[in-house]
Amino acid sequence: MLSLENISVSYGAINALKGVSMRVEQGEVVTLIGANGAGKTTTLRTITGLLSPSEGRILFEGQEISGRPTHQLVARGISMSPEGRGVFANLTVRENLLMGAYLKKNKAEINEDLERGFRMFPRLKERETQKAGTLSGGEQQMLAMARALMSRPRLLLLDEPSLGLAPLVVHTIFEAIDEIRGEGTTILLVEQNAHAALGHSDRAYVLETGRIVMEGPSKELAADPRIKEAYLGE
């Protein structure tokens, strides 16, 4: 569905990504883990067109999307929940969700998707008319994910959904990821929380200083002694 072929990206003289190749197949949850500064966010920003690769290309459903402006990707079926959540603080929860359906015209579908979002995160229903800026961090993350789903994406990109959240909230978020996957949406999950990410994904890539150093089924990686030592703290 999505494939990165030998992608290199540099900020001036600094090479942030050095020949990264990875792919995400239909229906999979693939996670990209790595430490701070490994290039996770750069990878995601390149996929979403915020950065242009100096080398390599990105294919989505067989078509090259490298360097395409972000707003065009939504129409193609890619949706992103940005790092730091990026909710619209002065819009209400409901208005935030409606923004997620910005390109949708069918009112019935939009209402259906609103209800689905509220079912997935009942907390959002309680706060429907409240401004997003008044939500707690966990609620904002739920909102960002529900909003990203409003465009009915075939591929959902999640950038650090567990960042800065309390363990119980992280649990809720990952349960939601399982649920989204159960509905057939393909997910690329970028995470620092390797433990949770490996537990809720099919395959994983490990990024270190701009290179993919390991890849494989998440279960195998979770059992790998090197991963255990470096990322799981065991």
Binding site: P82, N90, L91, L98, S136
Partner: protein, 368 residues
């Protein structure tokens, strides 16, 4: 009653009210109010157009433009040139009556708005493709360049000023433009288009991720804002029948900016109040003319300390009272369970949210 019929009725009623006011109160022959008071009220009307239009780009879209006077000047001079050279011909062609002049003025207004919109497009396209504060820098430069140009174009009087413009001191016309500006900006920010603009202000990257073509929307908002500023300029040009490049220097842009900051960025009612206050205040302070700038500054400092969001920033008096009743029934939703370990913070945020709604927080066009 169907919606369009209702809207039509409201529009007709509004026209009737404006016309009646014009006829009964502002007709100089009736001596209802002194020409001085009439002048202040009409100037306030022009300033309302300018402030509300600037609020569209600064307050709602979050792009900082500080060259509004430049677009106003473009509208003022282009329409003045049109009126001086063709206005009489058009009016006479239609019998030189009130109707003829109304048509001439309408054409002048449309032309002024259109030329200002074109200028806005030229300035907006290169600077709004970039994220950040480039618009402020470019509009600042544009405002300066326009003044330099006008000071040197002989056909519009250069530095001597442009005189002989047909004078139209019409309450009806000025407030018609002001009301149209308010209504169109209000409807815009309540629409899907407006929600996209507000989302750009809130988080440009996230807006882009929703599928909003941010550059296009920013340029559209900027062009509309410029066009309305141009219309404001047209009114000013025909108000005294005289234009001088000096009236469009940076200080004028700054004045309009103060109006919307005073009233509250992102609040239409605030912009209207800001415009009225900053039109009336200088007159009220006429006795202390030398201290005017000092008083302005002190006022702004006090405002920034006590209400940094502006008088009405974060509020919408017309929407709040409706939302309040709904808010009361939702109090239970504010209870924070132990799920979030950062309890203290959450509770603070939640009570803040509750309080904010109780002071009638609006939904769309506010910023806190």
């Amino acid at each position: 009653m169907p919606r369009y019929a209702r809207n039509l009725a409201i529009a007709l009623l509004l026209l009737a009210v404006l016309y009646a006011l014009d006829y009964l109160v502002f007709d100089p022959g009736r001596r209802m109010i002194s020409p001085y008071v009439a002048r202040i009220i009409m100037l306030a009307g022009i300033n309302i157009t300018l402030a509300v239009s600037l609020n569209l780009i600064n307050g709602f879209t979050g792009q900082f433009s500080i060259g509004h006077a430049g677009f106003m000047a473009v509208g003022a001079y282009s329409s003045a040139y049109f009126s001086v050279n063709y206005g009489k011909g058009i009016a006479e062609g239609m019998g030189d009556g009130a109707l003829g002049w109304a048509v001439a003025l309408l054409l002048a207004t449309l032309l002024g708005a259109l030329v200002a919109a074109a200028a806005g497009f030229l300035v907006g396209v290169p600077s709004l493709r970039l994220k950040g504060d480039y618009l402020a820098i470019v509009t600042l430069g544009f405002g300066q360049i326009i003044v330099v140009f006008l000071n040197n174009i002989e056909s519009v009087g250069a530095a001597r000023g442009y005189s002989g413009i047909p004078i139209v001191k019409s309450f009806f016309w000025i407030f018609l433009v002001a009301v149209l500006t308010i209504v169109s900006v209000h409807n815009m920010v309540r629409s899907a288009f407006g929600r996209a603009l507000i989302s750009i202000r809130e988080d440009e990257l996230a807006a882009e991720a929703m599928g909003v073509n941010t550059t296009r929307y920013k340029v559209a908002a900027f062009v509309i804002s410029s066009a309305l500023a141009g219309a404001g300029g047209v009114l000013l040009a025909h108000f005294d029948g005289y234009l001088n490049p000096k009236s469009f220097e940076f200080i004028k842009s700054f004045e309009i900016l103060i109006m919307i900051i005073l009233g509250g960025l992102g609040s239409i009612v605030g912009a209207v109040i800001g415009a009225i206050v900053l039109t009336v205040l200088p007159e009220a302070l006429r006795g202390f003319a030398e201290y005017r700038m000092v008083i302005y500054s002190v006022m702004l400092i006090v405002l920034m300390i006590t209400r940094p969001q502006g008088l009405l920033g974060g509020l919408d008096p017309f929407k709040g009272w409706r939302a309040r009743n709904r808010a009361k029934t939702r109090t239970e939703a504010e209870e924070i369970t132990a799920e979030d370990t950062r309890d203290k913070e959450s509770v603070d945020k939640a009570t803040l949210g509750e309080r904010a709604r109780d002071t009638s927080l609006g939904e769309g066009d506010t910023r806190s």
